[in-house]
């Protein structure tokens, strides 16, 4: 199983990022955590959690107010690399309902530059269920294109095998991270998690925490083996799920 995936990888390693196949669609993984669909020139990013810092500051925990600009800078880099026609933000783009209104002028400007000449699609998340019209773009509960279905939370109770199985679902929400111990050093990285039928995106937000991909909540989304693609400085790293260590 792991072997097949490894070979698939080797073939698909072209262009900007590692290539994977999801429900017949050929996608590339941007090393910083974006998912690009060349055929549609569509970029998917998840869980930006913009203005999480100010959400905490409101409650008396003044985290550094640079998270939105850090996240947007990352998004800008991914957009620069992939040059998509459409950007889909897969929900929880803002940490809370008031987030869009709190966004600073400079950050608003960067967002406008990122979106210039492109179509912005804001998928509703549990943190930001309502549209923020001032940001432009369209706000949708979910989006289906060809074999792929883009939504914030993975469909409940649907495994990826058997009758009524999910195929081609791309979701966020869970902020998957993988933990490894290599040569006595613990490593923890954000990652894509996929079994070829469903894919869970890493969170892009600078302050977004993570859930271990071995956690039951994530593991149950996949019927069998799945792989983690860890984000990295210049590429992603593919590790089979059973080689990643659980937290607790």
């Amino acid at each position: 199983m792991a072997l097949e995936m490894a070979e698939g990888d080797a073939d698909g390693r072209a262009g900007a990022g590692e290539g994977i196949e999801l429900a017949g669609a050929w996608l590339t993984l941007d090393p910083a955590g974006g998912l690009y669909w060349p055929a549609e020139r569509l970029l998917v990013v998840a869980d930006l959690h913009l203005e999480k810092g100010s959400a905490f500051a409101r409650r008396g925990v003044p985290l550094p107010p640079y998270d939105s600009r850090a996240t947007l800078a990352l998004l800008a880099r991914i957009v620069e690399r992939t040059k998509p026609r459409t950007i889909v933000a897969l929900g929880d783009s803002f940490h809370d309902g008031g987030g869009a209104a709190r966004l600073g002028a400079a950050e608003r400007q960067s967002l406008a530059e990122i979106a210039r000449g492109r179509e912005m699609v804001w998928i509703a998340g549990n943190h930001d269920p309502d549209p923020a019209p001032e940001l432009g773009g369209v706000h949708l509960p979910e989006l289906a294109i060809g074999p792929l279905r883009l939504r914030h939370e993975p469909a409940q109770g649907a495994p990826t095998q058997g009758a009524g199985a999910v195929r081609g679902e791309i979701a966020g929400h869970f902020h998957p991270v993988a933990r490894l111990v290599v040569r006595g050093r613990g490593l923890r990285r954000r990652c894509f998690a996929t079994d070829g039928a469903r894919l869970v995106m890493p969170a892009l937000g600078a302050y977004a925490g993570g859930l271990n991909i071995r956690d039951a909540a994530l593991a149950r989304l996949f019927a069998g083996a799945y792989a983690a693609h860890l984000v990295g400085a210049a590429r992603t790293y593919r590790i089979a799920h059973h080689a990643c260590l659980p937290d607790r």
Binding site: P62, V181, R183, L187, G209, G210, R238, I239, L245
Partner: protein, 859 residues
């Protein structure tokens, strides 16, 4: 605490006192002592000691004083005598109403000590019929009593630094402490120089403002630099003001020796297994022995081994900080009752309550510093007139040298120098918030008050402003949080806490002790996967580096790590004789600079080697013949091939922490030079880097310049790069963030455990470092890194010292001196610590495994 001891022995000591008093007529000092007290002393057949009367005389003159005295010298009674006398006089002049506030505040680093001292103080007060109310206040004091204490304070309150912070941050502070006459600071040497000490010093500065007449009395063991402690006792106005100092007669010189094992002295390791039978024999020959080791894991191991050979079934107990509190209390109680023959313990017993019965201290492993050793020796036999007895047990050859150096230092009474440090800015932030909770403050006035505290005497106005700004809105250059300010400047210019919720937050987060996340260690049951009993707790970061199947020693057994479930580590008993993971390799404390210099001097002077054990002597002789010996001031660097790899071994003698930092930086540089180091190992004395390239050749061909490799400029960009991803730095930052009040201890509040805390503060660190590298919290974290887990200052001092003094010896094979570090089972660190390289390796490894598996299947 010492009084219990005095009780039994004062008669003997008195005789000695009068014998040794010489020209000093004992009655002369007694005139200060009221009749009641003289009668009380006489009634018990005692005489007050010279330093007790001296302290009383200074108090009468209105002076603050530092008392330096060995344990057992009646230090505590000395500290309280002036207060007892004043309170007795006050109660006699009864016509005026009793002032409502606390008269004397006693502050101890340990709450158990505060409780113990209170008990020992009540007895003389009672026997003299003094109507004095003595009470303790600790985290364990019931809320009802705490409230009552605020309304109706006792005459003498015994408490801890954290309670002081809470009390002065309340509106009752003026009522409580307005009549304060004296502050007694016990074990001051243990508090000063730490963040806890910083917080206390700020609290005292506030107390002095509330009660300008209050005197301070510091009680301390012998220290290298008493002047710092003397400055602690009085407000720093011009800078450098000092309290008086009273030095008690030292006790008998300790009877110290080093165990010269008949067995082979190991090259490396920290278990001292080779001396086990001898340690056991020492326990058998003595009534009660304290066996000190440097880490919990060593304590575990030694305890396990002692019981293995405990044929006489001697009651030997274990005491360390990871054990359940109730278990520790049971051990302490059994010890107090004289029911134990030995306790294997860590520095958890360095301080604290004394047990009279201890007649021998065994220190296993090198003492790492002479001051710590003296403290530990002082735990044995508190009869001043008899020497304390202690035996040092070196665990390896280098430790033989270190023990020898420590013995000589203790005999000469030489102490480790204190590390110079400034008051921490994160602690100041906590205090500033506390002061805004107490009442509205004027920034200028608070600045002056803060600077009157010794650790903050050099605080710049700019740093202070930055801290206030940080407390208010986070202190970011991007002024985004004005409307969420925690403290605000009112129209009258005074700062006040913005709302009661902030004050509540402050109270929940007070203190400077940030516990690492602890995980329970539970034995997984053979039948039930929910497992059996809990063995204790380990720090989470230790578990972070383990893979399932790794074995380690805990609770006296070799255990196999299975998995983590919730906040528990599930383990199984293992048959492995040697654990795979070397727990905490060397020890928590790095070798002190002072002791390191003595070890270097010992090495550089072969004429003194004859007194060393034969094996060690021989080891050094061979080193001298085959390579060279490290000099007093230069840096010996050896390069040699071994087993298909090439090694570079340097001997800086700067302690494990500094060596680890150095190793990280050197491997980064070697990597950039294309010399592809694979990893490195460190111990307290040396550092060994290994790789596949021939380093001797690279040096000979001038492709590698050692002077440039070791140039101090590595502390610039290289260090910054490494700090960006250093787990130690992130841990340091997290502590500063918690202490400074950026995040709450239970951040972000709702999580079921603090696992996410670690992750989240790492994210905050990354963002802040990139966007505001000069932020006050990062400055605080860097200051900590300089002396804490990364020991950067020491590294920097070394690099400057050895500039142009590198002594390189290319060798054909490993040198004798290099063997210990080569055997160090330390975890291999990949060059540069680059996690990208590790990830690629993990991926390759797995692919190879997968391919191998496929090959097997096909074949």
């Amino acid at each position: 605490m010492d009084d219990a001891r005095d009780d039994r022995r004062e008669d003997e000591v008195r005789e000695e006192d009068s014998r040794s008093a010489g020209g000093c007529e004992p009655d002369a000092g007694l005139t200060d002592l009221p009749e009641t007290f003289r009668r009380w002393f006489a009634g018990r057949g005692w005489a007050p000691r010279a330093h007790q009367l001296e302290l009383l005389a200074r108090a009468r003159e209105g002076r603050s004083s530092l008392l330096i005295a060995p344990t057992g010298a009646g230090k505590t009674l000395a500290g309280f005598l002036p207060s007892l006398v004043e309170l007795a006089e006050r109660s006699r002049a009864r016509n005026s109403a009793r002032p409502p506030g606390v008269h004397t505040l006693y502050i101890s680093p340990l709450k158990a000590l505060a409780v113990d001292v209170a008990r020992n103080l009540e007895r003389p007060a009672e026997e003299m019929g003094l109507p004095i109310r003595i009470e303790t206040r600790t985290g364990d004091t019931p809320a009802s009593r705490r409230q009552r204490q605020r309304r109706d304070p006792p005459d003498i309150l015994l408490t801890t630094p954290e309670q002081i912070a809470l009390l002065i941050a309340s509106a009752d502070a003026a009522h409580l402490f307005g009549d304060l006459r004296r502050i007694v600071l016990d074990e001051l040497h243990a508090l000063a120089g730490s963040k806890r000490g910083d917080l206390l010093s700020l609290g005292i500065a506030r107390l002095r403002r509330i009660a300008p007449e209050a005197q301070t009395v510091g009680l301390s063991a012998t220290v290298a630099d008493p002047d710092t402690l003397r400055r602690w006792l009085v407000p720093q106005v011009m800078g450098g003001e000092m309290g008086d100092v009273v030095v008690a007669e030292p006790g008998a010189a300790p009877d110290l020796s080093m165990l010269e094992s008949v067995a082979h002295v190991p090259w490396a390791g920290h278990t001292a297994r080779h001396s086990l039978a001898e340690i056991y024999a020492l326990i058998e020959r003595n009534t009660t022995t304290l066996v000190f080791v440097n880490t919990r894991m060593q304590a575990e191991l030694l305890f396990q081994e002692l019981w293995r050979i405990n044929e006489a079934n001697l009651p030997i107990a274990l005491h360390h900080g990871s054990l359940d509190v109730s278990q520790r209390r049971r051990v302490e109680a059994a010890m107090g009752e004289g029911r134990l023959r030995a306790v294997v313990c860590t520095s958890s017993l360095d301080l604290g309550i004394d047990w009279g019965a201890v007649d021998l201290v065994v220190n296993v492993g090198a003492p790492k510093g002479s001051s710590r050793l003296m403290q530990r020796i002082g735990r044995a036999n508190h009869r001043l007139d008899e020497p304390s007895r202690a035996v040092l047990v070196p665990a390896n050859r280098f430790e033989v040298l270190e023990c020898r150096a420590a013995l000589e230092a203790v005999r000469a009474g030489a102490q480790d120098g204190a590390v110079e440090r400034r008051g921490a800015l994160d602690v100041l932030a906590q205090h500033v918030l506390g002061m805004a909770c107490a009442e509205a403050f004027d920034a200028e006035q608070l600045y002056e008050e803060v600077r009157s505290a010794e650790p903050y005497a050099g605080l710049t106005r700019e740093d202070f402003e930055d801290v206030v700004d940080f407390v208010a809105t986070g202190g970011y250059a991007l002024r985004a949080y004005e409307r969420y300010a925690r403290i605000r400047r009112r129209k009258d210019g005074l700062w006040r806490v913005a709302n009661p919720m902030v004050a509540q937050q402050y109270r929940l987060n007070v203190g400077t002790i940030v516990e690492s996340t602890m995980l329970k260690v539970r034995l997984a049951g053979a039948k039930s996967r929910f497992g059996g009993r809990v063995l204790g707790e380990v720090e989470e970061y230790f578990v972070e580096t383990m893979s399932p199947g790794d074995t380690f020693v805990f609770a006296g057994e070799v255990l196999e790590y299975i998995t983590i479930v919730e906040d528990e580590v599930r383990v199984a008993r293992s048959n492995a004789a040697e654990p795979k993971v070397p727990s905490y390799a060397g020890g928590k404390f790095p070798l002190s600079t002072f002791l390191a210099a003595r070890v270097r001097a010992l090495l550089a002077a072969p004429e003194g080697w004859s007194s060393l054990p034969a094996q060690v002597h021989e080891w050094l002789e061979i080193q001298r013949r085959r390579s060279r010996l490290p000099g007093r001031e230069d840096l010996l660097v050896e390069t040699f091939p071994r087993g298909g790899r090439h090694y570079l071994v340097a001997y800086p003698f700067e302690g494990r922490l500094a060596h680890q930092t150095l190793g990280m930086l050197l491997t980064r540089r070697l990597d950039r030079l294309g010399l592809h180091p694979l990893g490195f190992m460190v111990n307290d004395y040396a550092l060994a880097i290994y790789g596949v390239r021939d380093l001797s050749l690279a040096i000979a061909q001038a492709r590698l310049d050692l002077d440039r490799l070791f140039d101090a400029d590595m502390l610039g960009d290289d260090l910054e790069d490494w700090l960006a991803e250093s787990a130690l730095m992130k841990r340091t930052f997290r502590q500063c963030a918690v202490i400074g009040g950026l995040i709450e201890r239970r951040f972000p509040g709702k999580e079921k455990n603090s696992r996410q805390v670690t992750m989240s503060t790492d994210l905050v660190y990354d963002v802040l470092r990139r966007h505001e590298p000069d932020h006050v919290l990062l400055r605080a974290a860097r200051a900590d890194a300089a002396t804490g887990l990364l020991d950067i200052r020491r590294l920097s001092d070394m690099l400057v010292r050895i500039r142009g003094r590198i002594d390189h010896v290319p060798l054909a094979r490993v040198s004798p001196l290099a063997v210990p570090v080569m055997l160090e089972i330390g975890r291999e660190m990949v060059a540069g610590g680059a996690s990208e390289a590790l990830l690629a390796e993990a991926e390759d490894e797995l692919i190879r495994e997968a391919l191998d598996g496929a090959g097997d299947g096909g074949g």
